[in-house]
Symmetry: C2
DNA sequence: GCAAAAGTGTTACGAATACACCCATGA
DNA sequence: TCATGGGTGTATTCGTAACACTTTTGC
């Protein structure tokens, strides 16, 4: 006999909440939405939604991210499952948190307006509903972990960027200042940056060289054959 | 108006599956159970169960671990949420995987018999049902990560243990051989081991000194005030 | 010509690695 | 007495950290 479903067990709504990181060439930011429904109407929250029967967790998170930003094929990674009994006052809900890294200039600002969404600097966030602040803390920790081993600029920066911008990004992530010379040496020694030869205009008088990520080199270095791959240690200076 | 539940959304069974690591002073092992119910009766599987309304995720994982091992207050950490649509052929189920570290000698062997459970060496596992092999891979990776920064022997070894035993454990986790002298230096330099003065009898002719973990020192070093804490890098030799 | 940001090299220190011999004891 | 596993020290290499001056150019 084939069983068609389990018996005597409870079923729960499964939510996906996404921490959306962006970087505007100066500050690391999160995209938050203002709730226009109860409970907690008017408060700030992460973008979220419920799992549907026809999608797996990654697909659901992707759909929810798309809904707010209009973006597809975005870096998205599962973070942690949150399941405190009263975390959602409406009904017992299990939430799987995801975090994503997007180029802040790419997103669809009409959609963002529609959701009364807003970018907040990571070190100056408003109060959040439910346990969303815990999710944000977990995402910050995970991003630091990830940045130690991969140049996260892949996702957070535009195609071409300068080393001072990349350094600025790392400084935001680690909430610390880095030494220019040591940072350059380390990041260049990974061997995954290509100098384009072009210089950035407009920002500084001298102008900084624009770089691109060399995805081929990166994939090569990160292939299983080459072990754990490149690494960028948590820096002190 | 206060809403009592969400509308027009699907609800899902939420399962917890636990990867149970043990170490028998020689080999790193996993505790698996033989399913005596359909589907996949007779195949091997991780110990699992469904979330109940009156417990959070950690509590549920704890209860399930207790059910098989008889052990309470065990190291248990959430790993990852698995939610492929057809991962469970009976019904769409979301599973949150946990891994736990136990001292293999502590568990209740009657319970284990009752479940037809069995310890398998980590490098010689049987086929597992559903996506349980993926869960095991994730757990192995996480354990390596954890062992880099904390002496996992806290949980996997008995109260008193020798350095050769601890080295054996690390060698199982990393699936590599380590240099005795370098291992000792590194592990002792963490400053979280206490030499008891006693020697182990029976195993080797000379006898090795027994050590204990110094939990106070460990907590001190890992307190937020002291930054990221001690670390044990992935070794080569 | 000067303010503002970009770019560059060297030294010092500490951590990780490689490596080989003596010690204690039970059989 | 000898076989087995336990215990110890040093030289070398490599990565990280600390640190200050020159270059370019828009104003």
């Amino acid at each position: 006999m084939i069983i068609k479903q389990y018996h005597n067990i409870e079923r729960f709504p499964v939510a996906l909440d996404t921490i959306i990181f962006g970087f505007d060439r100066k500050t690391l930011k999160l995209l938050l939405i203002k709730r226009d429904f109860e409970p907690e109407r008017g408060k700030w929250s992460l973008m979220g939604g419920f799992l549907r029967p026809d999608e797996n967790l990654d697909e659901a998170a992707s759909r929810i991210l798309m809904k707010l930003t209009g973006l597809k094929n975005i870096y998205l990674e599962q973070l942690y499952g949150f399941g405190e009994i009263h975390r959602d006052p409406v009904e017992r809900t299990i939430s799987i948190a995801y975090y994503s890294l997007i180029n802040i200039l790419d997103h669809d600002s009409d959609l963002v307006k529609q959701y009364s969404a807003c970018w907040f600097p990571i070190d100056d966030l408003p109060d959040l509903i439910f346990d969303h602040h815990k999710m944000v803390e977990a995402a910050k920790a995970r991003l630091r972990y990830k940045a130690e081993r991969q140049p996260v600029g892949f996702e957070l920066l535009p195609e071409k960027f300068t080393l001072p911008e990349l350094q600025q990004l790392y400084e935001s992530i680690y909430e610390t200042e880095l030494d220019k010379r040591n940072f350059r040496r380390r990041i260049l020694s990974m061997g995954v940056l290509k100098k384009t030869g072009e210089k950035q205009k407009g920002f500084s008088k001298k102008g900084a060289y624009l770089y691109m990520f060399d995805k081929e080199k990166f994939d090569e270095l990160n292939s299983p054959a080459n072990g754990p791959g490149i690494s960028f240690k948590t820096p002190n200076t």
